[in-house]
């Protein structure tokens, strides 16, 4: 066996060993983790609902912001602005109210409100 082969052999073995350590690391760090704590976090139904409402709220608020900017810039006529702004405000308000209601339910269940 030549020196080059030996170097490759050692290099390959070190690489494989490093890979094994890295892959096994979560088990080495917490070897005695009970199964109930070894679980992946998933969105709870409450979180899922809040996320849906937060997306609706953000969508409506972003649309309102854009509408205001376009109206101020003169890109949207007063007539179009009046037609569009009402439903958007209602949508944002509805999402905010629903989020508040969810937060109320959460508080009753001892869960903090989402921002």
């Amino acid at each position: 066996m030549t020196d080059v082969d030996l170097g490759s052999l050692i290099g390959g073995a070190l690489l494989a060993a490093a890979a094994v350590v890295l892959v096994a690391f979560p088990f080495l760090r917490e070897p005695d983790l009970p199964p109930e704590r070894d679980t992946l976090a998933h969105l709870t139904p409450l979180e899922r609902r809040r996320l849906e409402l937060a997306e609706r709220r953000d969508r409506a608020l972003a649309a309102l912001k854009e509408l205001e900017l376009d109206h101020r810039a003169g890109k949207i006529s007063d007539e179009d602005y009046r037609f569009l702004v009402g439903p958007l405000r209602q949508e944002a308000a509805a999402a905010l109210r629903a989020l508040e209601a969810e937060a109320g339910l959460g508080r009753k269940a001892g869960v903090p409100a989402a921002r």
Binding site: S8, L15, A16, D38, L40, E52, A62, I76, V111
Partner: protein, 663 residues
């Protein structure tokens, strides 16, 4: 050292297989430590790919001809920079480069987004599956570490590839192709995790933009290479391999537009996942076309047997993705509808239909020779007229929409306010068109239409910026400059998009001008004779010959003058590469930076008696094509630039799964 390279690839293969299997098991059964272990396997696979790449690079730089790949693509006389670029100059090396970029992207993408455990748990096996495919190819089919008794000299790199643009073109394309894996993997990961929200879009926004930018820049570099190296007087020939890079870029462009409709209105969820899948599948198809040698192309430098592997994998990806989208349809159903056909979202929809139609038309043109060969035993190719026709049919309306879109409001726009918004840009377009007709540019109708629409787009962008700045001034009371900075800083994606639109306009003007209004002349000259073309007079002065590094350079000295004044001494000619047994044509280009015009001279033939056959092109505004690249990058960077306020808002929206329950 080849053994170390082989061992690293085997380790990478094993890690990818483990990440796939352990990742699926962990995600299905909700096992956190196993999911982390699978994630770490993806990170470790990047280290293994780094080692393998390091070994190949060392072999290339050390001219280790006992490595078959090194002997096939380098020689002792090959200059340093092309010895490095030989890494991706051949099939095996380019596949290793794919794997290196893929594992690097994967490692960073999963580490940076690790707090979204549920989505990452499913994204890891998707990324690992793609890694597994490429590492399997490298281990079993196309190893860059095959050895042989070392020859005294290597075969050298194809001289066509010995060009700075060609050295940079493949890495950029691969950074783009491979980058499209990330949004695909996150979209599939989100669907597998049963998440119908926009998290995957938020997490991959910059990855997608970066991949799209790399792909765009890569194509421009390829065009510049073709322009300077091939010597046919053009930059894009609708070659299958050129099209292979264009198609995923078009699909990704469609996605970058339609994703805004999902973000603003919660619509087009199925469409967006489908577009991301299409872009990824087309990026695989592009690699397949480039590397399989299944189609004849000036860009395809290999003939190999990996085609069937690629086709099998592409079919697997498409079938799996369609099946998953169908299974998750209830999750992807939109709750809102298109309110009006005259609205920003409708404009995005029209834009998407045109982009996808153009993509599929090009795809049909690329696969038609294969289909015709399979059906009739004879490969029938579709030529430039086919592509040019559809480029006009779909491209010109796309250009017009680029100007119309920003002028139309979201949700609904009354015809009266639309007419008012169109007034200035419309007037600018009509004035431009009329002026061009008066100047005699009406001879080439598609060019005239492209100019007119370009004027419309630029005017609409200018109106947008001026009105936006005015509105900002009214709110903040700042001066014009400060207000503009604030406006752009607060709406980076919007104004970054406008800068990219301006780049596309520059590209359109450059293409229309240089292809529609070019002047060409050819002639056989003896020393002292002249040729007149497009306002220039070219006088053939004589020949020179010299040896540089690995080549002999024969040059024709041509003095170019305009209005009786010499403007340049041009040196078109031929290079002879003795190691590679190859001749190349070297064009001479004189760029007038003031007018954007190129004088492009090709020495098609140099006879022993000193007679030369010259072909000369005068290409107006062609420099705008290369300038568009810089503007495109600037716009993309602006759109990608981090926005702290938005990042804070999104961090609040997408809390860590289970955070509320744990609080």
């Amino acid at each position: 050292m080849a053994e170390l390279g082989r061992a690293a690839l085997v380790v990478c293969l094993g890690l990818s297989a483990y990440a796939l299997l352990a990742g699926v098991l962990a995600a299905r059964h909700g096992r956190r430590r196993l999911a982390l272990s699978a994630r770490n396997a993806v990170v470790a696979s990047f280290l293994a790919a780094l080692v393998a790449s390091g070994v190949l690079l060392a072999a290339l730089l050390g001219r280790d001809f006992s490595n078959s790949y090194v002997a096939s693509y380098t020689s002792t006389k090959l200059p340093f920079q092309y010895t490095v670029s030989a890494f991706w100059g051949g099939q095996e090396g380019s596949l290793l480069f794919w794997l290196l970029v893929l594992t690097g992207y994967s490692a960073f993408a999963v580490l940076l987004n690790r707090r979204h455990e549920d989505v990452i748990a499913w994204t890891v096996p998707v990324l690992a599956a793609v890694q597994l495919f490429f590492s399997l190819l490298l281990v079993a089919v196309a190893s860059p570490f095959a050895t042989q008794p070392p020859p005294l000299e290597g075969r050298g790199l194809n001289p066509s590839l010995q060009n700075p643009y060609m050295a940079a073109h493949p890495p950029f394309l691969y950074l783009g192709f491979v980058g499209l894996t990330v949004p695909f993997a996150f979209a599939v990961g989100a669907l597998l995790a049963r998440r119908g929200d926009e998290l995957w879009i938020v997490l991959t926004r910059r990855w997608t933009l970066a991949a799209w930018t790399f792909l765009g820049v890569g194509q421009l570099l390829g065009a510049k290479w073709a322009y300077e190296e091939i010597g046919w007087g053009g930059y894009y020939g609708w070659d299958p391999v050129e099209n292979a890079a264009l198609m995923p870029w078009l699909a990704a462009t469609a996605y970058l537009h339609s994703v805004m409709v999902q973000e603003k209105k919660g619509m087009l969820k199925v469409w967006n996942v489908s577009l991301v899948t299409l872009a990824f599948a087309l990026s695989l198809f592009g690699t397949f076309l480039t590397r399989s040698g299944v189609v004849n192309s000036i860009h395809s430098f290999t003939q190999s047997s990996i085609g069937s592997w690629f086709l099998g994998f592409i079919v697997l990806v498409v079938v799996f993705s369609i099946g998953l989208i169908l299974r998750r349809l209830p999750l992807l159903r939109a709750r809102t509808r298109l309110e009006s056909p005259v609205s920003r979202e409708a404009a995005f929809l029209y834009n998407n239909l045109l982009l996808v139609a153009l993509t599929l038309t090009i795809l049909w043109g690329v696969v038609f020779p294969l289909v015709s060969e399979a059906a009739r035993g004879e490969a029938v190719t579709v030529g430039r007229p086919y592509y040019n026709f559809f480029l006009r049919v779909f491209g010109l309306p796309l250009l017009l929409l680029m100007g119309l879109g920003p002028l139309v409001a979201w949700r609904r726009a009354s015809l009266r306010s639309l007419a008012r918004a169109l007034a200035w840009p419309g007037a600018a377009a009509i004035a431009t068109g009329a002026l061009l007709v008066a100047l005699g540019a009406g001879s080439y109708v598609p060019g005239l239409v492209a100019y007119t629409f370009s004027a419309f787009v630029l005017a609409s962008i200018a109106v947008e910026v001026v009105k936006g700045t005015q509105a900002r001034r009214a709110v903040s009371g700042a001066g014009w400059g400060q207000a503009l900075v604030e406006l752009v800083g607060r709406n980076r994606r919007r104004y970054g998009g406008y800068v990219v639109h301006a780049a596309v306009v520059l590209l359109a003007i450059g293409v229309a001008s240089s292809s529609g209004y070019q002047t060409v002349r050819e002639g056989r000259l003896r020393p002292g004779q002249s040729l007149a073309v497009g306002g220039y007079e070219l006088r053939y002065q004589g020949l020179t010959r010299r040896w540089v590094e690995n080549r002999r350079e024969d040059r024709v000295l041509v003095a170019a003058s305009r209005d009786g004044k010499e403007v340049a001494l041009l040196r078109p000619g031929k290079n002879r590469y003795p190691v590679e047994a190859f001749f190349s044509t070297e064009v001479a280009i004189r760029t007038d930076w003031l007018t954007g015009e190129d004088l492009y001279v090709v020495a098609d033939q140099i006879d022993a008696d000193g007679t030369v056959y010259l072909k000369v092109f005068v290409m107006p505004l062609v420099s705008l094509i290369w300038l568009s690249g810089a503007v495109f990058v600037a716009g993309s960077l602006l759109a990608m630039w981090p926005d702290r306020r938005e990042a804070r808002r999104l961090a609040q929206r997408y809390v860590q799964p289970g955070a509320l329950a744990r609080a």
